[in-house]
Subunit: 162 residues, 2 copies
Amino acid sequence: MEQIKHAIQDEYGDDYAWCYGCGRNNDKGLHFRTGWLGNKTITVFTPREEHMAIPGYVYGGIIASLIDCHGTGSAALALHRKNGYEPGDGKEPPRFVTASLSVDFVKPTRSGEALKAIGTVEEIHPKRWRVKTDVFCGKEVCAKGTVEAVVMPDTFMKRKKD
Amino acid sequence: MEQIKHAIQDEYGDDYAWCYGCGRNNDKGLHFRTGWLGNKTITVFTPREEHMAIPGYVYGGIIASLIDCHGTGSAALALHRKNGYEPGDGKEPPRFVTASLSVDFVKPTRSGEALKAIGTVEEIHPKRWRVKTDVFCGKEVCAKGTVEAVVMPDTFMKRKKD
């Protein structure tokens, strides 16, 4: 199993680290962590027992969530690298939000195993990136997804600070 | 607030009612419930406090999950009606799984409010249905989604009974 030493989510600013999917500060969250794997990106996640569609198979909404946060995390990794930084440098990375998400559920996903999301990142615009992701269960691709992620608008934080 | 008296998920067979999104038997699940609203379908859900992207806004993976189960539930409602039944009749409905899911996040979704997913169902094939969904926060559409749902293959249950 690949180990992700430096995940981008480890270095989001504290105000940006509450996401249910990938925020380290969210005690009840899923704690997805995304790092580089060569020039691809990787997130590894083992669904909890309750994350089932029916017994024995993983719920699609959890796979969609994995693809979602893997997408925003991968975009952040890529823009951070473009800016000259890597996770582990101690420099706060950019924070993305999801503009669109699509998932094809290629085959039923067995539960009880670690899933690996492997992503390919492409710049559409300096503030908009596309991430194509394959989700593996063992050696099989069980889902394929695409996320378009945009740099988080300032208006998000304005509301928080109201 | 619309009340959903007879939800399709109330009548799934017990073996099919474990979904993390919409299974009534999953103690830790989200318990989405989907019913008719005229010739549209509706699911109402108030995200939990932890279901945030950042404080003040709902996590996209939860919205994707809502659209996912709203899609399979709506397809089940529609095929059940085509077969001559309505939820509340006590007849076990068909059970769908998601083939594909897409979501456009139209605007940030405020937390602390009930979300309404409103769906339009279209038959593509007797075993494959498309559900287009608008997710409302108050009067605003905050996300738009499409699900293609297929009747659950027998192979799902075969594994469970291994």
